[in-house]
Amino acid sequence: MITLYSPMNEKDVRGLRIGQVVHIKGTVITGRDEMHMRALSSKKAPEELNNSTLFHCGPIMVSDNNEWKVIAAGPTTSARMNSMEAEMITRFKIRAVIGKGGMDDRTLKAMKDVGCVYLAAIGGAAVSLAEGLSEVKGVIWEDLGMAEAMWIFDASQFGPLVVAMDAHGNSIYKDVNAKVKRTMERIQS
């Protein structure tokens, strides 16, 4: 089992290959549609974004005596952020994007250029994944609502995550799609 320490550097990331299973220890931030839009339109975006490990997730959080606790935190569909992620990766040197379903070619190219990977979390495995996030360090842009805010976690053992797109232009989704396309063609003919 591979453990990655976040924030990661370019070298850690370039060492990864598709198909590997990893866990993360360290800082993980969340962000979905609204957080992406705001980050890209901000003149001075929060420094937490730099070199971050960005989890596409809108968690369920509860506030217990003014202390935030994470109840459930599974990945959301990453493709919704396709139009924004390449710029996010380039601008903030994001080192890992975690989500479900994979992302497009533009994102894959940005990952190769900058040194970033896409890690697939098990969709819906929200209780197991929340367990690994353990500690809430804070929340930024809380006005976006619970699901859209940027939550900052200190993860103890976050995973399992599959390296699904690496920093060398490889993508499990591309390989799977080629196979799926053959089934489509067979049935269309």
């Binding site: 299973v21 459930a72 493709a79 994979g102 819906g124 209780v127 619970m146 799977v176 489509m184």
Partner: protein, 286 residues
């Protein structure tokens, strides 16, 4: 056992809690069966992770998925006007209590109501029937799978072949987004709105139930085989398990129409039913 009647809103809270924290047994069995024939290593690990999460959710009483969805309610039996209020109040109470994620927003301003209510919410379908009890079924529907819904108004000439092609493309084009392995709800016939409604209702059927209609069953089996040989796999990462089941529901349609709808449910195929007796006591099942 002495059972005390409890207010309807609390029955609804219990129902939502059951649906969100415990997966119906038949879905668990379908996942186990899938894991037993899965040959792809990554796929196997994904199924293992799903089952692990399912057990943890049940044990800790937490929602199995952070997207607790939009709850779709189906009410049958004896129905009076107070039921809607009870369901609304129950959902409002359940949101911070279970907790459920506040998911409902205004479609244009995107402002979140904070309590899972809002104009048109929650969605309730009424089917009054004879009998002196009321049944409420809830189907919490996450956006990942709901966003992959497809409707086609095919030409009658497209026939069975056209139907199959459309369903297969709908499921495969969705890729990993609806959290496969999915349960595929298919509606064939009706009007456009009825067709989508049937596709969603098909998801209420337990996965271990057998479709009594020969044509529908054959179509279900054939689609199951095609989809699982596609290689899409759990979470779209490859493997033998793309769907857990295909459920087809049909209804008569206009002679010049052939509507087909696909409504997917993720592996977190949550549902629960409560029967409220005449004396106010409640029996829950999944």
């Amino acid at each position: 056992m002495i059972r005390m009647p409890i207010p309807l809103e609390d029955v609804v809270v219990n129902l939502l809690r059951l649906a969100n924290t415990k997966l119906p047994d038949d879905v668990g069995w379908a996942l186990e069966a899938a894991a037993s024939w899965e040959t792809n290593e990554i796929a196997y690990s994904q199924l293992g992770g799903i089952m692990d999460n399912m057990k943890k959710a049940e044990f800790t009483g937490r929602p199995m998925c952070q997207d607790t969805g939009i709850p779709v309610f189906y009410v049958s039996g004896k129905i009076d006007a107070s039921i809607e209020e009870g369901i609304r109040e129950g959902l409002k109470k359940a949101t911070p209590l279970i907790p459920l994620r506040p998911n409902t927003v205004h479609p244009l301003t995107r402002k979140n109501s904070g309590d899972n209510l809002g104009d048109g919410m929650p969605i309730i379908h009424y089917r009054p029937t004879d009998g002196d009890f009321t049944e409420i079924t809830v189907l919490p529907k996450g956006a990942g799978s709901e966003n992959m819904t497809r409707l086609a108004m095919l030409n009658p000439a497209d026939g069975a072949d056209g139907i199959k092609k459309f369903i297969v493309s709908a499921v495969l084009e969705a890729g990993g987004r609806p959290c496969p392995p999915t349960i595929v709800g298919v509606g064939i016939g009706g009007t456009s709105d009825k067709c989508v409604e049937m596709a969603k209702e098909a998801l209420l059927r337990p996965t271990d139930s057998v479709n009594e209609n020969d044509e529908e069953r054959e179509l279900e089996d054939e689609l199951f085989t095609i989809l699982n040989s596609s290689g899409l796999g759990p979470m779209g990462l490859g493997g033998d398990t793309t769907v857990l089941r295909v459920h087809v529901k049909t209804g008569y349609c206009h002679t010049a129409s052939l509507p087909v709808a696909v409504n997917l449910n993720c592996w977190a195929a949550r549902r629960a039913t409560v029967r409220i007796m005449k004396d106010g006591t409640a029996e829950y099942r999944q």
